[in-house]
Symmetry: C2
Subunit: 295 residues, 2 copies
């Protein structure tokens, strides 16, 4: 499979705005700012949720959201996806009618609405997933992936204040999605995989965001055995990753990284002497932009 | 009012864990990781939500969440707050019984569950808020605040992967809360203000997180006229701030900042020649830690 089936398009004028303001000297300035628009999702006749998104892939976002909420099943047949830009809605139509009302009722009482975390029957699925124990993460792949991703043109480098997620295989980044919420970036990848028949086998997931419980739950649900981040861990995220035997790699910058779960999949094949540290220029740029990324 | 009525307590053993793992050389290491635990909130007899939190101030978090969701009114009388650490629940009891069922029903259909954004009747309140047009932000205060906040001991500096919010007045940081979600940090401040009778007049709000629509909505709901962040903007966040006449300052680091709304409140009283840039050491440390903060 080639690299970058999907890559960011920072030149798309719908994704950023030029806004006027003032700087620390009171001088007028103009700056680039990412767009954030509402998108209301319907499953058949039922309104499900209004999401805030940059709006580049409403179809993938809609399908991925429904999959990751267990409102769509992997064997569901999608009869159509209708996106209406003017009224900011997307309707997913399925052959089978899902029991969304029961799920919505359950979600209201048990999930972290407005907290960015989903529980209820999502955890029931989590407990049943078996990740491929024979998948491996070569450190040579890890170093190649982070270098390619960090040097790819993105909204992240152009305007900041955005999250990136990348589906990878071996040393190849395949699908690189960005959005104002990391939920959306991962859901867009789930939707793309479903609609294009890409399976989770031997895949590696990269995120700019923290390795919280929610990121671990979604990665495991998508049955991807390896998760990598430049950022840090939470204790419960590590606990969940250990229970699911997910390989969890954090603080991956230049030569450095830390693994706190599923270490058995790591193959130390890179010659450390030949791995470059991030150049001061990239590191400074990345750090400046990653500050923006604090959600 | 003195500085730091509430400050982070990175030495509290309940807030971080030491976890074992491996590094890039396959060597065994130990590292500090922030805790993240569920807290289920009840309003009187009704289960409202399960939140993920570091767990340091369940009472302030519970009350602030209910206030910012408009489930509590400013004139509501709280009869009691019962926190049970063992079963991870907090119950808020009120004299008046709120119409939570109607609100929960509305939230399910219109809010961004799992997206970190709340709409519905929250926006109705937003439209009615008038922020104090005579409040000012002196640049000398801004520089003093950011320096004090950046050099205060925090979980952010000790373990990363956490958000910070600070309620300030003039050049004094008053209440500095941290949590795994920025929602929780701001809600804990709202709860503290309500339970301790601290009003929003002349206050300044500082956050490590991005200036998204949700941060603007919560700050305006709390009637605080000035919002400052180290991080960046989204276009809709700026639009909402302009509609509410909120003074919105972003990318505040060292001498630099940008204001994209409410610029009329800024008083340029600092002598730029005397303002220190962040020292390379602090900047590097802050950048490293803020990377962790990408949520």
């Amino acid at each position: 499979m080639d690299e970058f089936l999907v890559a960011p398009d920072p030149a798309d004028p719908r994704l950023t705005a030029r806004l006027a303001g003032v700087d620390q000297d009171g001088q007028a300035i103009e700056t680039s700012v990412v767009m954030e628009r509402p998108l209301t999702l319907f499953l058949n006749g039922q309104e499900i949720v209004t999401m805030m998104t940059i709006g580049d892939y409403p179809d993938y976002l809609a399908v991925g959201y429904l999959l990751n909420q267990n409102m769509l099943r992997p064997d569901d047949e999608i009869a159509g996806i209708d996106y209406d830009e003017e009224i900011e809605t997307v309707v997913v139509r399925t052959a089978r009618k899902t029991n969304y009302e029961k799920k919505l009722g359950k979600k209201t009482l048990t999930s972290g609405c407005a907290q960015g975390t989903v529980f209820g029957d999502v955890m029931e699925k989590f407990e049943t997933v078996a990740l491929d124990p024979d998948a491996v993460l070569r450190t040579s792949w890890l170093y190649a992936l982070t270098k390619k991703i960090n040097t790819t043109h993105s909204l992240y480098l152009a305007a900041g204040a955005i999250h990136g997620c990348v589906l990878c295989e071996e040393d190849r980044p395949l699908i690189y999605m960005e959005d104002v919420g990391r939920h959306n970036a991962i859901d867009k990848i789930a939707g793309y995989m479903f609609l294009n028949g890409i399976g989770p086998e031997r895949k590696i997931f990269y995120t700019t965001g923290r390795l919280t419980s929610e990121m671990i739950i979604k990665t495991v649900q998508m049955r991807i055995p390896v998760l990598i981040s430049r950022s840090g861990f939470t204790a419960w995220g590590v606990d969940l990753a250990r229970r699911a035997d997910l390989t969890l790699v954090g603080r991956a910058r230049g030569k450095r990284f830390i693994a706190l779960a599923g270490e058995h999949r790591i193959v130390y094949d890179a010659d450390q002497a030949t791995v470059e540290e991030e150049s001061p220029k990239i590191r400074r740029k990345a750090s400046m932009e990653e500050e923006e990324n604090a959600a």
